[in-house]
Symmetry: C2
Subunit: 85 residues, 2 copies
């Protein structure tokens, strides 16, 4: 019985490690998620998410902190700002 | 012998699936990779990478296409541009 379990687990387990996705759940029906913003519309400062875990994506909501803690990653946002902002 | 292999593979295999990192190799000695740009310094158009596979990171070099094909992901860049660019 145990052997059967081990064989099954090794050969058929769904948790096969495939190359990891970066975006786990944002607009998964969209073939490629691209965002474009006009410089003229930007305020003094915009902080854009690059960890794809933000609930306010494409904007950063600090979710990278939890992601980095959970995975040992080191991702952080992209900041576009006026010089004196 | 085979059973030993199966037990070893199940219990000790390094390919244990941990939560995936987003950034696999960019500045891994940096605790958090953040980029900031002044609006005044931007040209007509800047395309920023969000898949963390670009060889020109933080700028996009199209690497998301290969990443999306290999993983079934759907990530794409962030574009900051002048209205008429």
């Amino acid at each position: 019985m145990a052997i059967g379990f081990l064989i099954h687990k090794t050969l058929f387990s769904k948790t096969k490690c495939v190359k990891p996705k970066v975006n786990l759940d944002f607009q998964k029906d969209n073939p490629k998620v691209v965002h474009a913003f006009d410089i003229e519309e930007l305020g003094d400062k915009a902080v854009y998410c690059r960890c794809w875990r933000s609930k306010k994506f494409p904007y950063c909501d600090g979710a990278h902190t939890k992601h980095n803690q959970e995975t040992g990653d080191n991702v952080g946002p992209l900041i576009i700002k006026r010089k004196d902002a």
